[in-house]
Symmetry: C2
Subunit: 417 residues, 2 copies
């Protein structure tokens, strides 16, 4: 289905109403097609060289889910990806999900309805494949010889306390939007379309972005109260993206299908905010290596000033502690490794001790997780003073295929190239 | 502290930055006072005849929490309410929490920081007192003789499946805002201020409003995909509010302190959306009694047309089913009872069966829960066909004291009148 030919949620609202009088006596009603100018205003194209939702300026809200594929038939997996592709095209345009055929009162509606009347809201839907899709159990879909060498379950890091019910998955779907109702609606409808072929494994709501992926955005704050991701990769620097985010054609000879894609590392990081809140501001700033108010490195300057790790205080000690987060995570301490971060704050109620179950849902896109994420996380989990105040409780890694052209389905190059 | 004399979060951002150079060498820094025009634009007054957050046009996001009071000393409970009042005044003005004294690096910051730079965002903070505050265990605070006769734990309703970890509480705090970061920040800081006197009992994040409380708002949709609360009470109709929401001075002779307040009923309603989504549109509409697209009653008309329960279809049956939700909840079937609804959609991940743990966090303000809520809920839980698709998993009732004047603390009339 081409752009702009579907049923816009705003149009549906007005025109379906005209069918209501008939609805009471059981007549089916047909919705008109979309020519709504609103729809285009805050819609990102689903098609392109790369999937949307990676370098797209980070939207404010997230709903993230992973799925276990339950069918054993490769053809049914492909059919699922085709259904998901069609629906994702519609959803990102702000249309009702349309699986073909007229809407009648005698059948379930194709679309679950809670986004009727809402604009596209900057929705992006980004798909990724977990390592288990390729080989667990064994080679169920004939994909093992195409598994990227780098797509391996992340190793156990010191202090990990992973909940298997919040980890892994055969497929992940990241829905980002500026309206959470639109993001939740997207995941729910994709889950509905998966019925019989895949089942929801876990889901996480991110209520506020903690990263900027564009120079047009201000740096937001995480639940430690500090600006997060000041040094993030930005969409405007194509050379950085080529070097650090996009898989290049020659990166993995047996996984050419992934060229133009990326790897997504997802980590649910619980923050112990009650003890953090009882830590002095000076200690917090030393642990981070930046001041809280503006996010400037403790060596001086403003937010975007490069930290000077050699700058000494009057007491002869470095102004930026050698075990601070900004030091340990800095490219200069990680062989030049950088990440495209796209994380969100979460708040999932509280635990049995009355502490808020809140923290950072860390999402990062990298070209090479073995070089860009694993060494840094090993270093952080061993040495970062912040580890006293956080715990990784969920984990996943996914190969994110490149974008598609109209007529293709997500992941088609994995199955057919 | 009077309005506009505190430290605005936007001012803090700019001016604290000027103190950063000194921060590295351990000097304390002082923040300037607020004269930020932004602050007033989307701020609701904390003071007034009634608490804000009841008839205030429903903001988009919610964070709701209840607390168990852990101190046994009445004076410490009063001191907590005083701290909460001061902080709520500051937070709703978009200021940093300020507990007095200079901010130094050698002590924890008074404010947790994650809302620095954010405007007031329409934040309202609304406090209520649960029945246990007055007598459990026994008369711990000398309040039993002031417990409102109507403030009683809700009875068990058919099909209730309440989780005690998501029910009850001595005090509730409802934080509503148009930015969830601002709502979460408010609850977190009030929880921090409670340390040693009260402990968080449970918390719920509502990602999208499901009610309008003003004629200026469009009716939103719940996760069944239908418009919710079309017939809600609205702020613009003062006579309705007097009759159905605000406790009048003569309502309860021993609880004069509650005059101008209200009762809050909170119910966490899990929706089983997977089976709902497999139900035909016609069946859904019959269960609700309205059409999905526009929200018009099945007897015809548009959203705000009164349902006509006597209108018959060609088959001789009522167009609106006698067991439909709109019928069972209609004032004509409930001795004229009406509610001020203020609910939110929630999505708390998933359960162990891979179903989304999502639904409606129902909040309603009433003058008399025994007359306005309990009979209706008994009727709904026995007869409403929707009950097949939902389950009440959390519950609380709270007496919401009236608004206060500057210089008063929340609930003062309970303790001192």
């Amino acid at each position: 289905m081409g752009a702009g030919t579907g049923i816009s949620r705003r149009q549906a609202l007005g025109l379906a109403g005209a069918g209501v009088a008939a609805a009471g006596v059981g007549t089916s009603y047909v919705l008109a097609r979309d020519d709504d100018a609103h729809a285009a205003a805050d819609a990102y194209p689903f098609h392109g060289e790369h999937q949307a939702g990676i370098v797209t300026p980070a939207q404010d809200r997230l709903y993230f889910a992973t799925f276990d594929v339950t069918t054993r038939a490769r053809s049914e997996l492909v059919a699922l990806l085709q259904r998901w592709t069609d629906a994702a095209e519609q959803l990102t345009r702000g249309e009702l999900v349309d699986t073909g055929g007229a809407t009648t009162l005698n059948a379930p509606a194709a679309d679950t309805g809670e986004a009727i009347g809402l604009p596209p809201s900057g929705l992006t839907i980004t798909f990724g494949f977990g390592p288990t899709l390729f080989r667990d159990p064994r080679d169920r879909f004939g994909l093992t010889d195409r598994q990227p060498a780098l797509l391996q379950r992340l190793p156990h890091f010191p202090a990990d306390n992973l909940d298997p019910r919040r980890s892994d998955g055969d497929v992940c779907i990241q829905a980002c939007a500026n309206d959470p109702q639109v993001a939740v609606h997207a995941i729910r409808n994709l889950s509905k379309l998966a019925f019989g072929a895949a089942a929801l494994r876990w889901a996480e709501l991110g209520f506020g972005r903690t990263s900027s992926t564009s120079t047009s955005q201000q740096t937001p704050r995480n639940l430690f109260g500090f600006k997060d991701g000041t040094a993030n990769l930005k969409a405007e620097n194509a050379a950085d993206l080529q070097q650090h985010v996009w898989v290049a054609p020659g990166d993995d000879p047996r996984s050419g299908w992934l060229a133009g894609g990326s790897y997504l590392v997802a980590r649910r990081i619980r923050m112990f905010i009650e003890p953090w809140d009882r830590t002095s501001l000076g200690e917090q700033q030393q642990l981070i290596g930046r001041d809280r108010a503006e996010g400037a490195p403790l060596s001086g300057g403003t937010e975007f000033t490069e930290p000077d790790f050699d700058s000494m205080g009057e007491d002869g000690k470095p102004l930026i502690d050698t075990a601070s987060h900004v030091t340990l995570a800095h490219p200069s301490r990680n062989k030049g490794a950088r990440l495209l971060r796209r994380g969100y704050n979460f708040a999932d109620g509280n635990d049995d001790l009355g502490r808020l179950d809140a923290g950072l849902f860390f999402l990062a896109y990298v070209r090479d997780p073995a070089r860009q994420y694993i060494p840094m996380q090993n270093s952080l989990s061993k040495n970062d003073g912040l580890m006293e105040y956080l715990q990784h409780t969920g984990s996943g890694i996914f190969a994110v295929p490149p974008g598609i052209e109209p007529g293709e389905y997500v992941g088609q190059r994995l199955f057919e190239a």
